[in-house]
Symmetry: none
Subunit: 209 residues, 2 copies
DNA sequence: AACAAATATTTCCTATTGGAAACTTTTCTC
DNA sequence: GAGAAAAGTTTCCAATAGGAAATATTTGTT
């Protein structure tokens, strides 16, 4: 199964490449890293304690490098604070991507037309993004216009901005989505979209890895 | 800096918990993994001990899951045996989330009101998502209504669905966004949103980890 | 500035880890 | 298959982690 067109496919994939990233750097200061993560999530020690099941005091000591937590503790940390353990061993913060911002004005994304969709890539000024947002006009009017299922690695979120669409997926019955409706699905499951309103429908897509 | 309200904070974070995944499953048999690696390298405990600086007995206990090594010990292990720490936590393919789909009808997300926003969480039927989508009505009319910057781990994408907003960020001048405009930014950078149209503005947010 | 509330650190104590050496099991060698 | 050497496990104890509560610090309010 291919994407709508090879050109689009490779184009999207090029964007995707940016998402997977860096090498693993030494665990230098676990404590600092933990504190960073906790603060980034606006958590107090108390709250973090509640979530991880570790005592407030223990967390404090870990963050201040006063103790070397047992592996058990590290696991609790990871689960409670919602971080992949490997994340703890990656450079504290990717200086490249921290503090970034990009604004895309209405209609000013990078256009990319295909037979079935009229895509407009948003936030195209930023690279190495974790998500790829794009707005699309759904030109397809019939499922048969697709050479086959569309598939992506990762998950996708879609919101209908205008018109009405029929959403086909590999493992479910098609479902009609009206303006304002949205769906979230596994991108590796085959999927496709057609307009069923007078006008071509417009949707917003955000894909993740 | 706190989030808008503790309630919202914890609420969103509860959703976020779903994102963290495997990683937490894998380390169940750290010992097994270590033994595997040691044997694959044809090392005796004695030799491994020499290389890692950990006592023979300690290594034995770790491999037999009799103790939970301290983080220090794990580091020594990794360096001495020449392995990436993340390698110890290689996550297996996740079958749980493949082929999933959730549809949220207009206005049918899970509501969550706060002083500054009226949130509606989308795709709330799915757990362990990689992204968290929600639609929000921006009640705030003035930056002062925020107790401080809002911060999240990860990156965020925002699209203005209705009305007009002023987007404040820690490292940039505020920018006005009209309906249809969008922005993508590092969530750890402080940010906040206020309506500047007659009506309360409506925006779509998608956050990633 | 003074007070209260929230958040973070330190103390003190118990539980667990990590190491040296004793002990056990496995693997060679004859 | 007995004995010796190598490899692995367990024991015992000193060192260190982890938790509850006291103390200190920071933040917010009047």
């Amino acid at each position: 199964m291919t994407d709508e067109t090879p050109a689009f496919s490779s184009m999207i994939d090029k964007e995707r490449e940016q998402k997977s990233t860096e090498a693993n750097v030494a665990p230098l200061q676990l404590g600092k890293r933990v504190r960073e993560i906790r603060l980034a999530n606006n958590l107090t020690l108390e709250e973090a304690s509640r979530r991880t099941g570790l005592a407030r005091s223990t967390l404090s000591k870990i963050e201040n490098e006063q103790i070397s937590p047992t592996f058990q503790a590290v696991q609790k940390l990871a689960t409670g604070l919602n971080i992949d353990i490997p994340q703890l061993f990656v450079n504290p913060q990717d200086a490249r991507t921290s503090g970034r911002r990009d604004v895309t004005r209405f209609g000013e994304g990078r256009p990319h037309p295909t037979p079935t969709y009229e895509h407009e890539i948003l936030a195209n000024q930023l690279t190495n993004k974790k998500m790829l947002p794009y707005k699309s006009t759904v030109r397809a009017r019939d499922f048969d216009q697709y050479p086959g299922w569309v598939r992506h690695a990762g998950e996708e979120f879609m919101l209908v901005l205008k018109g009405k669409v029929r959403f086909y997926t590999e493992f479910y019955e098609p479902v009609d989505l009206d303006t304002g409706d949205s769906t979230y699905y596994d991108g590796t499951m085959g999927h496709a979209l057609v307009s069923i309103s007078e006008e071509d429908a417009e949707v917003l897509w955000v894909t993740s890895n």
